[in-house]
């Protein structure tokens, strides 16, 4: 007897898919299509005249040293944010997992930053590190360290990496903690009985078993560093000094919205889209092979 339920209707699957397709269509394909279209045009700010210019916007971008510099900054920034964010939150999660007393308190405090809007996070960090009115900047000056992120690009990058990592630690922490708690205690106890120390147990049991989580977080953190850090940069360095913290997504905003150059900005977002798609494909094709589910 046939136990499977069969739907023979040709349109039912489409109807069931429709809401998803509609959402993706409206919020992804439509804007992406528009960006693609605009990247081949030069428009005046009010959109009254449009000229098709072929690949000119892209050519202008690739000839622009500032744009190529922005790639380097973005690569460095996203590696630092993803790398540091994952490392620190993994360490915190491992410690929080071992805590017996008042664990709830620690966990709550570690999760709180996630509730802070990125723009607010930026302002918080400005209050601490602004050379004019920052508390930390003042303390550093007393220690003889001349802190000025307005002029020192190393300081500026440090500041936005700190702010971006701090903002993302909670998210990473939650996933790592959940991952750690999903590892059966019996495995760890068995290893302990066999004489493995905490470090050994972590490397040989917990870390490999966490690899799906780590991989997931790597993808998410890269995307986060590429896109969501925008408001942190807007609130702190605004791409300066020079263009030393001008990451790609901030440049898209700066050129398109602040400066009204929609064609150039659209071309940038098309390139950015291509990069993120390529990165995600690479991560899933190659990195994922090393992941044990």
């Amino acid at each position: 007897m046939e136990k499977r339920v069969l739907f023979r209707s040709p349109w039912l699957p489409w109807v069931l898919l429709a809401p998803q397709v509609a959402v993706i269509g409206v919020f992804f394909f439509w804007p992406a299509g528009q960006a693609l279209l605009q990247s081949f045009q030069v428009q005046d700010a009010f959109g009254m005249s449009t000229e098709w210019v072929g690949l000119d916007n892209f050519k202008a971008l690739l000839a622009d040293e500032a744009y190529l510099g922005s790639f380097k900054v973005t690569a460095l920034f996203s590696l630092l944010v993803a790398g540091l964010g994952i490392l620190i939150s993994l360490a915190l999660a491992v410690f929080a997992d071992r805590i017996v007393r008042a664990a709830m308190v620690y966990k709550t405090f570690l999760i709180v930053p996630y509730a802070v809007a990125p723009a607010v996070a930026g302002v918080l960090w400005i209050f601490m590190f602004s050379p004019t009115l920052g508390v930390v900047a003042y303390a550093l000056a007393n220690l003889g360290i001349e802190w000025n992120y307005l002029l020192d690009s190393g300081h500026a990058l440090t500041l936005i990496v700190m702010a971006a990592v701090w903002k993302q630690i909670s998210y990473n922490f939650l996933f790592f903690l959940a991952g750690l708690q999903a590892i059966p205690k019996s495995l760890i106890e068995a290893a302990a009985i066999d004489g493995a120390g905490p470090w050994r147990r972590f490397w040989s049991i917990q870390f490999p078993l966490l690899s799906p989580t780590t991989f997931f977080l790597l993808v998410i953190n890269m995307v986060y560093a590429f896109f969501d850090t925008f408001s942190i940069i807007d609130a702190t360095t605004q791409g300066g000094p020079g263009q030393d913290t001008m990451i790609l997504v901030y440049k898209v905003y700066n050129d398109g919205f602040k400066n009204g150059d929609l064609g150039g900005s659209a071309a940038q977002s098309v390139i950015l889209m291509a990069i993120v798609i390529a990165l995600t494909v690479v991560q899933f094709r190659y990195v994922e092979k090393k992941v044990q589910y």
């Binding site: 005046d44 005249s49 002029l151 000094p241």
Partner: protein, 437 residues
């Protein structure tokens, strides 16, 4: 069914309650004035609305100048632009090029039956917003200019005469050195690098910032601020930075706060800083004209304006334009102008308003408040009338980015200025291309 009926009833009720207000024509006004200046804008609208019954001006705060302009561009594309839009001087060329999007103020005033006389406005202010054919395109609203502020108490502590402001750059350097010797950590800083140290600096010394009379001659203009004088000035600033005499405090108006707080003793910035300094500074302060190089013939000439003007958007109903005209007429009245000038430190935009303020004894009671005006009302030359360049906002950012490399020591003054010109000219080419018609 019943739910539909209820919502219909609600809709009808809303319409009914709104109907008395609909007898008046609404005029939407988008602006970028926050804090005490936002209150000033709201007060102006309130005062106007109370003065007559036919029109209601509704001011809406839309963020910074840049954000307000961007919001209006997006709204125009979507077909619901405001009636009046406040645009900063940097956006002037963009607005002028957008012929189909705006309606010249001269035309609007004529439509509204108000007699419009461009001559009543202070020439340097009105000239900035006038098209090559002599038609005034937007109404100057809050105009400021670059002035020099200094801390008299700090001057006294450094053993200098507090009533003698340094007039020239060599004097500024000497004063800064004395301030530093007396233990001051930030002798001199500046807001708006491009506006104060390049744009105003150029007109003040009667040299070109860009070709074709700083862009007044058309969109083919290209940047020209790598003259020996410009390079000399930035080398001078770089040396000051190296010796700790000039301290860079960030882009735009970020440095403003350091003057009223007492951190920096001298600053070049907007005359609009007045409302803040008079409220916050806990020391004796003074204003003076911008410093200049005494060996340059023709210096000092005049400074150029900053601030914003009001643009009228195209495609509105005749009734709306009548309302706009009536409101603009109200704004141009000398007593309204004079009150605004005293309240905000922005320039009076009509000669009558300046005279009225003078007569009231305001300048005598608040010495220094007339510096900005006297800097502006001189006769302008072709080189000093103003600056009108497309994509100017980008160019200012480029200047910020490149000059920052001077203060960090990565580039020499010459290299940075030339790089800024190269990158800035690319923006001008783009603008020329997008605005052929």
């Amino acid at each position: 069914m019943s739910r539909v009926r209820i919502s219909l009833a609600v809709a009808a009720a809303t319409l009914f309650t709104l109907s008395p207000a609909q007898a008046q024509t609404q005029v939407q006004w988008w602006h970028a004035m926050s804090g005490p200046l936002g209150e000033w804008v709201n007060d102006l609208a309130k005062e106007y609305n109370a003065s007559q019954k036919d029109y209601v001006v509704i001011p809406t705060f839309k963020g910074t100048y840049g954000e307000t302009l961007t919001a209006a561009m997006a709204a125009f594309r979507a077909g619901n632009a405001p009636d009046i839009l406040q645009v900063y001087e940097v956006g002037t060329a963009t607005m002028m090029a957008a012929k189909g999007a705006i309606k010249p103020v001269g035309e609007v005033m004529t439509m509204g039956g108000a007699k419009f006389d461009a001559k009543v406005y202070i020439p340097a202010v009105a000239g900035y917003y006038t098209a090559p054919n002599g038609q005034m395109l937007s109404l100057p609203f809050n105009s400021s200019t670059t002035v020099f502020w200094y801390n008299k108490d700090a001057f006294k502590a450094a053993g200098m005469d507090p009533n003698k402001a340094p007039q020239t750059w060599p004097e500024v350097v000497a004063a800064a050195a004395k301030l530093k010797a007396s233990g001051h950590k930030c002798p001199f800083t500046t807001s708006w690098i491009s506006w104060t140290q390049l744009e105003s600096f150029s007109t003040w010394h009667n040299v070109l910032f860009a070709s074709l009379n700083n862009g007044f001659g058309g969109t083919k203009a290209r940047l020209a601020f790598d003259s020996p004088l410009h390079i000399r000035h930035f080398e001078n600033l770089a040396n000051m930075a190296k010796q700790g005499l000039f301290v860079y405090k960030g882009r735009d108006n970020k440095a403003d706060v350091t003057f009223p707080s007492g951190e920096c003793a001298m600053i070049t910035g907007t005359s609009g800083l007045y409302s803040r300094v008079s409220k916050e500074a806990k020391f004796a302060y003074g204003t003076s004209t911008l410093p200049y190089y005494p060996d340059v013939p023709g210096a000092p000439q005049n400074t150029i304006i900053g601030g914003a003007s009001l643009w009228v958007m195209a495609g509105k109903k005749p009734d709306t334009y009548k309302g706009v005209a009536s409101f603009f007429k109200f704004l141009s009245r000398p007593e309204v102008q004079s009150a605004s000038h005293k309240r905000t430190g922005y320039l009076p935009i009509t000669t009558a308003a300046y005279e009225l303020t003078d007569k009231s004894g305001f300048y005598k009671e608040h010495p220094g408040t007339d510096v900005a005006v006297t800097q502006m009302i001189r006769k302008t030359t072709d080189k000093s009338r103003g600056i009108r360049l497309g994509n100017f906002n980008q160019i200012r950012t480029i200047v910020d980015e490149e000059t920052e490399q001077i203060w960090t020591g990565k580039k020499s003054a010459k290299e940075a200025l030339q790089a800024a010109i190269k990158r800035g000219n690319e923006q001008l080419v783009r603008f020329q291309r997008a605005n052929k018609g």
